[in-house]
C-alpha cells in the first residue's frame, strides 16, 4: 500500500499545477513509471479515484507509460533487458550490470481545460 502516499503526491501536484494554469477541469495525467519501482498502476488508479473525489481532478484519466528495465553490462556496455532469472549480459555473459532505465517515477504532463 505504499502507492497511497505517492497518489497523494500526484493529487497535490496536479491540483497545484491546474490552479496555476487556471484550469477548470483535469482531463488526463501522464505518469511515467519504471518497471523496477514496484509501483502498481492499478493500485495508484484505485487510490486516485478516492483521493481526487470532489476536486477538479475527479474523473481524470491516468495514463501510465511503463518504462521497461534496461541494464548496462559493466564489462562490454551492452544495454539489455534482464530475463526473469538471469541477469547476465547476452553478448559477453558478464554477470555485472547497472540499471540504466526502469527506476522512473514522475508526472510527465497533464491535460486540462
Amino acid at each position: 500500500m505504499h502507492e497511497f502516499g505517492v497518489t497523494e503526491n500526484i493529487v497535490n501536484i496536479v491540483l497545484a499545477k491546474a490552479g496555476e494554469a487556471q484550469a477548470s477541469k483535469v482531463i488526463q495525467i501522464n505518469i511515467v513509471v519504471g518497471e523496477m519501482t514496484g509501483f502498481v498502476p492499478d493500485c495508484i488508479q484505485f487510490y486516485f479515484d478516492s483521493l481526487s473525489k470532489d476536486t477538479i481532478a475527479q474523473g481524470a484519466v491516468l495514463h501510465f507509460e511503463v518504462v521497461p528495465t534496461h541494464l548496462r553490462c559493466r564489462d562490454c556496455s551492452t544495454i539489455f533487458h534482464p530475463q526473469d532469472t538471469l541477469w547476465s549480459c547476452p553478448k559477453c555473459q558478464g554477470q555485472s550490470a547497472e540499471v540504466s532505465k526502469g527506476r522512473e517515477l514522475y508526472i510527465e504532463s497533464m491535460e486540462v481545460e
Binding site: M1, H2, F4, G5, V6, E8, N9, I10, I13, V14, K17, A18, A21, A23, I27, I31, M36, T37, G38, F39, R74, D84, T85, W87, S88, Q95, S96, A97, V99, R103, L105, Y106, I107, E108, S109, M110, E111, V112, E113
Partner: protein, 224 residues
C-alpha cells in the same frame, strides 16, 4: 484542452524530508542505519546482538517499525539508550517507514547523547526500498530459509544496499541455499555492498559485522 508540462518526481516529497533528517542527525553526529529485510529474517535479533556488543562503546538508540505491536521495542529497551516504536497501521501513507515518520520519532530521541541510531524497518523487501529515511547506510538482511534468489526477485533493495547480511548460517546444512550464487548476484548488481555471513543463533560472524558498524560510526563522528 491544453497540455501542461510537469516533470515532477513523485518521491521528491519524501526525499526532501529524508535530507532534512540526515542534516539533523549530522548536526548531532549521530550515525543512522536503515535495516531492512523480509519478515523473520532476523532484524531484531541482529539489533540485539549489536546493542549487547557495542553498548559500552557507543550510545545507541533504536527506532522500531512494525505494522502493529510493541513486541520489538520491548525486546530491545533494556539494551538501548532509547527506543521509539512506530506502528504503521496508524499511518495512512504507507505500510513501511517513510521519512516523515522518522522526523517525528527523532523529536523523541536524545540526539545530543547518541552516537548510533539503528532503524528497524517494517519486514518487507519492496516498499522500503523506495523511501529514504535520512539514514547514512542501508543494510539488507537475507536469511537462508528465504532462498538464494531474492536479489534477482527483489533487485531494487539489494542494488541500493551498503551492506548485505546473510543470516541463519547455522541452517546451511539443512537448506538448499547456494552461497556462491547469492554472492554473485549481489556483486553483479551492486559493487559497493559489503557482504557479511553470520548467525544470530550461534553468534558466528557477529563480531565482524559489529566491527564494521563501529568503524562506520567512528568515521562519521570524526567528519568535520
Amino acid at each position: 484542452m491544453k497540455k501542461i508540462e510537469v516533470i515532477q518526481n513523485l518521491l521528491e516529497a519524501n526525499d526532501t524530508i529524508a535530507k532534512r533528517n540526515q542534516r539533523l542527525l549530522d548536526e548531532h553526529k549521530v550515525f543512522a542505519v536503515n535495516i531492512m529485510s523480509a519478515p523473520g529474517a532476523g532484524k531484531t535479533s541482529l539489533i540485539l546482538h549489536t546493542l549487547r556488543r557495542l553498548k559500552n562503546r557507543l550510545s545507541i538508540a533504536v527506532i522500531e517499525g512494525d505494522v502493529a505491536s510493541t513486541i520489538d521495542a520491548e525486546k530491545v529497551q533494556n539494551e538501548a539508550r532509547a527506543v521509539v516504536q512506530i506502528n504503521t497501521r496508524n499511518m495512512a501513507e504507507s505500510c513501511s517507514l517513510m521519512a516523515v515518520m522518522i522526523e517525528a520519532a527523532l523529536k523523541n530521541l536524545p540526539l545530543d547523547n547518541l552516537d548510533l541510531l539503528l532503524v528497524e524497518n517494517v519486514g518487507n523487501l519492496i516498499c522500503p526500498s523506495e523511501f529514504a529515511l535520512g539514514e547514512h547506510k542501508r543494510v539488507v538482511i537475507s536469511s537462508l530459509p528465504e532462498g538464494d534468489d531474492k536479489p534477482i526477485k527483489y533487485p531494487l533493495i539489494f542494488i541500493d544496499a551498503d551492506a548485505v547480511i546473510t543470516n541463519k548460517m547455522d541452517l546451511l546444512p539443512h537448506v538448499d541455499f547456494d552461497i556462491a550464487a547469492f554472492r554473485n548476484s549481489i556483486t553483479g548488481l551492486n559493487r559497493k555492498a559489503e557482504i557479511f555471513q553470520l548467525s544470530c543463533k550461534t553468534g558466528e560472524g557477529i563480531e565482524e559485522w559489529c566491527s564494521w558498524i563501529l568503524r562506520q560510526a567512528e568515521t562519521n563522528a570524526t567528519k568535520p
